[in-house]
Amino acid sequence: MDLIVSLAINGLATGMLIFLLAAGLTLIFGLMDVLNFAHGGLFVWGAFSGVWVYNLTGNFMLGIAAAIVTGLILGAITEFLIIRPVYGNHIQQILITLGLMLVLGELIKVVFGPEQKSAVPPAFLDGSFMLGDIILIKYRLFIIAVGIFIFALTTFILKRTRIGLIVRAGVMNKEMVQSLGINIQFVFMAVFMVGAAMAALSGMLMAPYSGVIYAEMGLEFAILAFIVVVIGGMGSFKGSLFAAILVGLTQAFMAYYVPALSLAVNMLLMTAVLIFRPEGLFKVKG
């Protein structure tokens, strides 16, 4: 029993982390219909800049702030220079953002050096405590909390404000939205910046979780994020949350009970979903 609870909590934490990673991607895809393969690049930049500030100042929160700011700035630049010319064309989006991914990943090495960097959780989140026989790792609880917070916040903004509507309309027919007097370019940029900031934030949160960050992790995690987004149903925020947790839990339990398959868990999950429920677990309406 304890074992199951402990596996579940850890799986949940992994799931939340994956959700944070996928959230920016889902946001950008769900709202703007942009397949952003540079997501991983934004993720690594968040991690490196955040960890850099964190190590420099010793203040974890400052590190998080730095990651978010980095995400916002990179998001703005990316949207303006890279994404703007290719709205509405998936294939071009995939291609151009892949190019950006290469640039961002390699630029990390120029700015921060090629070595991997280490990060530890801040003192107040370090270590673990026992609840009965269950070991609870503080940092993981923290991640679960942040995940829930981000989910709630984003859901609120999308559901309760007109922004979501405008952005979705803008994707379907940009000219028409402009003809209704809305500066859609500005809105798009803002959304993209938020999505990028989410990627950067998750990068920063990932750092103390795994202990190390390195330039190549971008592509690796971006692929994971994409898998989750596909499993959940492209563009569905709820779906991503659900799929991320599913992946986290499956990984945790498979690693314990069927270790032989643990390597292939994600791929098998995605294959199964694509075959049996090709629209993803949560189909976006429409």
Partner: protein
């Protein structure tokens, strides 16, 4: 049967010579990952190799009356590129030696070329056993330690009669071979392997694996890990040490050591840390390295690069400048030479250099932002000798 074009004679000069002299030259082509995932290792090898030549030739870059030229090529940790660069070195540059490379895959893609071109290749720092094992050919010499040596060293540093050991390794050929070799060495020393745990090489969550290890309740947990996604944090978080399970593993390079702060107090082994060996060559290396590189100390694979260079110069000296492969193979088989890690010897049977490794404890030290390996004892070359061609 080769159709080498007549072109390759007028190849350009290597970067390290003035070039105009008419003295004969010996050319060495070094393959290393100067960019890409293993970039840090590749650069250590390069620094070590350059320093090694300086040291072995007293800064003259000459041996047995011949000028030494070096050409470095970047394999980008891509077997295709490695092979292409190797062909370039062999054909266009006409090198007399190959050295490299940072990844086992790159190396394996090149070793058949060494045989084909009858050119000596000094393998450094690739570790796969198969290089001097199943894929062995006569032209391959390895100054790097191989995986089995690591495993034997790891076993030697903890195994004893009746000790219970669990292992944790990535679920890959590297992890499985590492554990297999360790298991053999450890059981030879009387220990029991009570549990083998393999994790996804790209895993971020090791909870399930660690849980199982806790259940197996061993005295030691031996970890073989290579990726950047380290399990150390989680091992510490899950309080293995509090539950009477000591951790042991190979200490990595300095950048990766900094991720191991949760493991302070751990017993393990290492290939190299600059304070561990006690010999003149190492003293020179540390001093020169600091001077040339801004106070930086040599890292995990720097002495390997240096050893490779020294082995080549020594061999040429002994062969009196004869760079023909047959002569060199004769010379190098069984040859001993002094390196920053003490005396190394190329074992005649598989051309693997037997060498010292170091049993260590990780300790926290003032002024270091990483846990520092402190010497327990030197594991002698005989003690860490791996099985032949396994």
């Amino acid at each position: 049967d080769e159709d080498a074009s007549g072109e390759s004679e007028d190849s350009s000069n290597g970067s390290d010579t003035e070039g105009e002299e008419t003295t004969e030259t010996v050319k060495i082509g070094v393959l290393a990952s100067l960019t890409g995932a293993l970039e840090a290792y590749g650069k250590q090898t390069r620094k070590g190799f350059e320093l090694g030549l300086d040291y072995a030739t007293d800064g003259t870059m000459e041996v047995a009356g011949k000028k030494i030229e070096v050409v470095f090529e970047d394999t980008e940790t891509d077997p295709k590129v490695a092979r292409q660069k190797a062909i370039g070195l062999l054909e266009d540059e006409n090198v007399d030696f190959l050295v490299g490379s940072s990844s086992s895959g790159d190396t394996l893609a090149v070793t058949p070329l060494a045989e084909e071109y009858e050119t000596i290749m000094v393998v450094e720092p690739a570790v796969a056993d198969s290089i001097t094992g199943s894929e062995y050919n006569d032209y391959i010499f390895r100054t790097a330690r191989n995986s089995s040596q690591d495993a034997v060293a790891a076993a030697a540093s903890i195994a004893d009669e009746g000790v219970k050991i669990a292992t944790l390794a990535p679920d890959s050929a590297f992890g499985q071979d590492g554990v297999a070799a360790f298991k053999k060495a450890a059981t030879d020393l009387g220990a029991d392997i009570t549990h083998e745990e393999y994790a996804d090489p790209a895993a971020t969550d090791f909870t399930a694996n660690i849980q199982k290890i806790i259940e197996a309740d061993p005295d030691y947990l031996f970890v073989v890990w290579a990726g950047a996604n380290t399990p150390w944090n989680q091992i510490a978080d899950m309080k293995l040490q509090d539950q009477g399970i000591d951790i042991t593993t190979g200490a990595p390079d300095i950048a990766a050591l900094s991720t191991m702060s949760p493991l302070v107090g751990m017993k393990g082994f290492t290939v190299y840390y600059h304070t561990l060996p006690d010999n003149e060559v190492n003293d020179w290396l540390v001093k020169e390295h600091k001077e040339r590189f801004d106070g930086e100390v040599p890292d995990l694979f720097t002495p390997g690069g240096m050893s490779a260079a020294i082995s080549i110069v020594e061999a040429l000296k002994k062969a009196e400048g004869d760079a023909s492969a047959d002569k060199l193979i004769d010379t190098m088989e069984g040859m001993s030479f002094e390196t920053p890690k003490g005396t190394m010897t190329f074992r005649p049977e598989d051309h693997q250099a037997l060498q010292s490794l170091y049993a260590i404890t990780l300790e926290e030290k003032e002024g270091f932002d990483y846990p520092v390996p402190v010497l327990e004892r030197v594991l002698s070359p005989e003690e860490t000798a791996p099985p032949i061609k396994n």
